[in-house]
């Protein structure tokens, strides 16, 4: 309670945390794109196999996962205290800390900081947090050009597209498509460029090198922030991030407040968990760490923007708190059978896949009846592959089930709720249940001579669009059990059992 006696309701997140369509509708569109299905299927299967290889070779992988989960639980249990320690440590080492409640505030802070440098260009290190707040779009509207330096992010940016994977934003593109994008959008590209991956990477490098040498300010995210020392860390594969973290005069880091680790030693656990889970590598090629500013070395001005954007709201909720354990490794996406078919765009938010289905409604809410986010908790078959893959053991299927419950609690009473109530009533007594079974026997009429139902009415039509439904058999199990035939068969089986 505040001094005025008003309850404090933490603000929900804003920015790119909500699509325009509900998942089933958005998915329909993606499912009908054969190129996308092929690209994503191929890529996820490759990473899946690599991940299993490198996690399988660690004898203490399960203990590492437990340690990761325990550290994250500890962080979220004492987040306020750790955040203040981080702020003190960063400030003591010459950095400046800013606090942003939502996307708009964070964007305004970053824009102002870039303006102060006098530059109308900024380098970007791949970052989920700035995707989440829509920083690039905001900067563009303010007349500032942002250049993504991660190759895949650059492909997405030049393609006027949205990322569809946490780690591999251009997973939905193949190299022929990438070549076309480069030829069309990249200034000064060689018109003879072919689709050899090395040549494509070289073209991007040439384009970026010029930017690294001339742009004086960079914006990054952070994989980890160490409360004890004020150290920020980014892990990456290409080394372009490292260029942005060292060459410019000014560095601005936008970090979600849950990305904290208490001590420097905790990194040891996460630098094993993260690369193995995300790219299937034993170690990521580049790990950059920086602590405040060092005179004469690297950026001379350092700002850290601590982003809430719905995280406090999530933290206040049992489910949301667990979802904040996520280290954005994307292992859950790569094993998810739903993501594998629909790709990331169907989820609408910066965070796709199983964890996105939990995080987006948690951060941005799903209270309105027609909120596209309210369809996300249902976008899962609850197969559990994500839970098995998650390096910090987030029980995503259980969280989804809890979110479904929350959604239903807030929904208006409709036909589905009525059907569930009726089923609950029928199934809570065996007398009513056997009566209902008799009614189900009417299904045999629907089935006719075929013995199967090929078209169901109303909301059930989705089933028979692609599948038959067997006709209910003439006799239920309990009728067989009570029948002479059933009794005789059982007696005979018993006898055989005695002879064995």
């Amino acid at each position: 309670m505040t001094a005025l006696g008003m309850p404090v309701v933490p603000p929900r997140g804003s920015g790119n945390l909500r699509g325009v369509k509900k998942f089933p509708d958005a998915a329909r569109q993606e499912l009908s794109n054969p190129q996308l299905r092929r690209n994503i299927g191929k890529a996820t299967h490759t990473i899946r196999a690599k991940r299993l290889n490198v996690t399988g070779e660690l004898p203490d992988w399960e203990q590492l996962r437990d340690a990761g989960a325990a550290i994250k639980a500890d962080v979220l249990n004492r987040l306020p205290e750790l955040l203040i320690r981080l702020e003190e440590a960063v400030t003591a080492r010459g950095g400046v800390v800013h606090w942003a409640a939502d996307a708009a505030e964070a964007n305004a802070i970053v824009t102002e900081l870039i303006r102060r440098t006098g530059s109308d260009e900024v380098l970007k290190v791949k970052s989920m947090a700035t995707q989440e707040i829509g920083l690039n779009e905001h900067l563009e509207a303010q007349g500032i050009a942002a250049y993504e330096t991660d190759l895949a992010e650059l492909i997405v940016q030049l393609g006027h597209d949205k990322p569809s994977h946490i780690l591999v934003p251009a997973i939905h593109r193949n190299r022929a498509e990438i070549r076309e994008i480069f030829l069309r959008e990249m200034p000064g590209v060689d018109p003879e460029l072919d689709d050899n991956p090395r040549h494509l990477a070289a073209a991007a490098r040439k384009f970026l090198r010029h930017k690294f040498m001339t742009v004086p300010v960079a914006v990054s995210g952070a994989n980890f922030g160490i409360a004890e020392t004020g150290t920020l860390a980014v892990v990456e594969s290409e080394g372009n991030g490292r260029m942005c973290l060292t060459l410019p005069q000014t560095l601005i880091t936008v970090m979600g407040i849950e990305k904290l680790l208490p001590t420097f030693r905790d990194l040891e656990v996460f630098l094993q968990l993260l690369p193995r889970s995300s790219t299937g590598e034993r170690m990521n090629p580049y790990t950059s760490m920086w602590t405040g500013v060092t005179p004469g070395d690297g950026p001379q001005e350092f700002h850290l923007v601590l982003l809430d954007n719905g995280r406090t709201a999530a933290l206040a909720d049992e489910i949301g708190r667990e979802a904040l354990h996520c280290i954005r490794c994307s292992a859950c996406l790569n094993v998810c059978p739903v993501y594998e078919r629909t790709g990331g765009h169907a989820y609408g938010s910066t965070y796709p896949g199983p964890i996105g289905a939990v995080l987006s409604p948690q951060l941005a809410g799903m209270d309105q009846p027609d909120d596209p986010n309210s369809s996300l908790p249902f976008a899962s078959s609850l197969c559990g592959a994500c839970y098995d893959a998650c390096p910090v053991k987030i029980d995503i299927p259980s969280l989804l089930v809890e979110l479904r419950h929350q959604k239903v609690e807030h929904a208006r009473f409709g036909p589905e709720a009525a059907a569930m109530k009726a089923a609950s009533l029928a199934m809570s007594s065996s007398r009513r249940w056997t009566a209902a079974q008799k009614a189900a026997g009417l299904g045999r009429v629907l089935a006719g001579k075929k013995g199967k139902i090929t078209s169901l009415p109303g909301p059930l039509a989705g089933w028979t669009d692609a599948r038959d439904m067997p006709a209910p058999p003439k006799r239920t199990f309990r009728q067989w059990w009570a029948s002479d035939e059933g009794r005789a068969a059982l007696a005979e089986a018993r006898e055989e059992g005695q002879q064995r």
């Binding site: 998942f23 089933p24 998915a27 329909r28 299905r37 059978p337 739903v338 629909t342 249902f378 899962s380 078959s381 609850l382 197969c383 559990g384 592959a385 839970y387 098995d388 259980s398 089930v401 479904r404 419950h405 959604k407 239903v408 609690e409 569930m420 109530k421 089923a423 199934m427 809570s428 007594s429 065996s430 249940w433 079974q437 199967k452 090929t454 989705g462 089933w463 669009d465 692609a466 599948r467 038959d468 067997p470 209910p472 058999p473 239920t476 199990f477 309990r478 009728q479 067989w480 059990w481 035939e485 059933g486 068969a489 059982l490 005979e492 089986a493 018993r494 055989e496 059992g497 064995r500």
Partner: protein, 254 residues
């Protein structure tokens, strides 16, 4: 042992052969099989679709039906329903039920087993004396695999079946796309998942695709008959309850 059958709502109504096969198999193994008539449904559909309070009467009914000290074990031919009893009943009971219900849920769930884990872990048998001269592939189903961790148990049982030609299903551990109401709410994504599963089943050239869950089999079987592939679905229990005709004229009951 005195074993109570949990037929599950779907098994009782739509797939009675899977349940009667379970009953006959356990009786043949020398056990006293009973069917508490009060039972209906585990409530999984309600919990998984978001209707937790509506699952409470079903959890209570399950406890009423099976909380009986004369029963040594409760066995169901369904991994997902056993998963629900084990992982969801406690949650529903502690949120909406009485303290005494919570205690009874714990007692009952400790005795509830999926068929393959009961045979292998509790009875200690892998060869149940079955005979099934057909080419069969096995889909492990997500809930058996990941909620119950039955692992190799169904395959151990199948490998011991006489004359069976057991062929490995490619990408066996990927979800078939059923997921309860997911199959309706996200029918198109569900169908896309099913299509890939059917391709994998077809690649085995099997006559039968088997599993330990009638619900997944209903989904896979619905796709197989629609495409007229000629491959049929069959519950694990039905294979395990099949015996050589010469030895016992009555095989699986109709």
């Amino acid at each position: 042992m005195r074993i109570a059958l949990f037929a599950t709502c779907l098994g009782d109504t739509m797939f009675p052969e899977a349940v009667s096969a379970t009953a006959l198999l356990l009786a043949r193994l020398g056990h006293d099989v009973v069917f508490p008539e009060r039972q209906t449904c585990c409530g999984q559909m309600h919990v998984n679709t978001g209707y937790q309070p509506d699952a409470l009467p079903l959890v209570e009914n399950y406890v009423e039906a099976f909380d009986d000290s004369s029963i040594d074990a409760i066995v169901a031919p369904s991994g997902s329903c056993v998963g629900s009893v084990r992982h969801q009943h406690g949650i529903v009971a502690s949120r909406y039920g009485s303290a005494s219900l919570c205690g009874r849920v714990d007692t009952v769930k400790a005795k509830t087993y999926e068929l393959s884990e009961f045979l292998v872990d509790v009875l200690g048998v892998t060869d149940v004396g079955a005979y099934f001269p057909h080419r069969v592939t096995y889909h492990p189903t997500c809930h058996s695999l990941r909620m119950l961790r039955v692992g190799e148990k169904p395959l151990q049982l199948l490998r011991a079946v006489r004359e069976i030609d057991l062929v490995e299903l490619p990408q066996a551990d990927s979800c078939c796309g059923f997921g309860g109401t997911f199959a309706i709410k996200n029918a198109e994504t569900s169908t896309a998942m099913l299509a890939d599963k059917l391709t994998d089943v077809a690649a085995t050239g099997a006559e039968y695709c088997s599993a330990g869950d009638s619900s997944c089999l209903m989904h896979i079987g619905g796709g197989l008959t629609r495409l007229r592939t000629g491959t049929r679905t069959i519950h694990l229990a039905e294979i395990l309850a099949s015996v050589e005709p010469a030895v016992a004229p009555k095989g699986v009951p109709a």
